[in-house]
Symmetry: C2
Subunit: 265 residues, 2 copies
């Protein structure tokens, strides 16, 4: 399939952030789309190869730079979660409004801080498929404090070693309310997002339509070795292919109708 990249300028809060659309050749029918959200300290480039692979499945893909990164690097120390969440929503809106994109078939694929923001974004925009790799977590408090400063909390490390419930955390609550399909990928040797955080996300997803949780043996947080990057790529591609194959019908509102009369079993 022939693909085409297109640079886009995403307007948010009177600023512009840079993004790249990867466009598959497609018939006139509208189809699925995938939004990639990079982690803290990352950039859209890291997801571009993956976006091209996913576009090969027939999806319009968008990668972009969160504020505080790349062209807006000067905001690195000052940018807040609220601002970066606005970035995700602005990127989503650009993608969803793109001709050829079916707004009911949008996937969000995020890593670390980008997975945290992506989880919250599902409470603001319709997301059908959600992929969270090594999802980070932060306390809800001091929402508008610069993101960089959140790490100064003396309880920051211990907070991530405890499990948390949806009622205590905005990202987990968004997961608890999420009714689409979810992929969660953990790095088994992650010193930044320990297992307790991933376990809290998995346990929160009690209303997901499906859940695929996989851990990459030996991998560190940033997937520094090529084999770990490849393993993650295979997981995302396999999962998306399964999801797209089952997505010809609109998502049933009554997925878990919860019949009231259990009998014998």
């Amino acid at each position: 399939m022939s693909l085409r990249d297109e640079a886009v300028d995403i307007s948010v809060d009177g600023h512009g952030i840079e993004g790249t659309l990867v466009l598959p050749e497609r018939s006139s029918e509208s189809g699925p789309a995938v939004l990639f959200v990079h982690g803290w300290g990352g950039n859209q480039e890291q997801y571009l190869a993956r976006a091209r692979a996913v576009a090969g499945l027939g999806c319009v893909c968008l990668t972009f730079d969160l504020r505080g990164h790349q062209r807006t690097r000067t905001q690195y120390d000052a940018v807040t979660r609220e601002q970066n969440l606005s970035d995700v929503v602005a990127a989503y809106d650009l993608l969803a409004r793109r001709p050829g994109v079916d707004g009911s078939r949008i996937a969000l694929v995020g890593s670390s801080y980008g997975a945290y923001l992506g989880a919250i974004a599902t409470s603001l925009r319709p997301v059908r498929w959600l992929s969270l790799r090594a999802p980070a977590i932060y306390k809800d408090a001091e929402w508008d404090r610069p993101k960089r400063e959140l790490h100064r909390d003396p309880d920051f490390i211990e907070f991530r070693l405890r499990t948390h419930r949806p009622s205590e955390n905005r990202a987990l609550q968004a997961c608890a309310d999420f009714r689409g399909d979810v992929l969660i990928v953990e790095s088994c040797d992650d010193r930044i997002v320990p297992h307790a955080v991933v376990a809290s996300y998995v346990a929160a997803l009690t209303n997901a339509r499906s859940l695929t949780y996989r851990a990459i043996e030996g991998a560190d947080h940033g997937l520094s070795a090529e084999q770990w990057k490849q393993a993650y790529g295979v997981l995302v591609m396999t999962w998306l292919a399964e999801m797209l194959a089952g997505a010809s019908a609109p998502m049933a509102e009554t997925a878990h109708a919860g019949a009231r009369q259990p009998a014998e079993s």
Copy 2:
């Protein structure tokens, strides 16, 4: 691959229950095995076609009749969970001791009451892969009361409409302690095992090595339509094939090592 069935008599508590081994043609090396546990009111026959399909993947398979069913049908009203759990363990032991079976690569595949017993059995015997379809749940109390009578509890229906935590329930606690790979399959229109029960199992599995949760749209508890049986069959086969492919190495004890020093993310 040529397969061979072999009838076996499983000795438990001085009784004999009937089982069927399905044996693949195999080299002299030992390989994986799968134990199938039917639901209340079912029998080994229901899993025989599936066992033959799974044996085609190179697994020694065993199906059997729980006490109170088929030849021991006269015990239907009197059999207890403790007795049926002993049946599962006896069947497991017969399978694990079979020449050609690698005791570190045993899967347990259960439905409904059989999934409930199977979950508990993981606390008694080493199980690497656990598949639970529409897993039932019961209160721990009155453990030795005949299984049939548990349904007389006036809170029985409401109990299954609430979510439960591992500390409250033996099957959920076994899931919380389980460190292998898990498949959970829900029927979306299940009037016997409502979504709250499945959600409790999913939420309990915080230490699983991987988790695959899928729901079959429109399906009832017993998968009465052929298309639902087929959908379940595809899920089990796809999952097992993935698990067997990744199982050449022994399972890492340190899957979730829980590093103590999260840094920035």
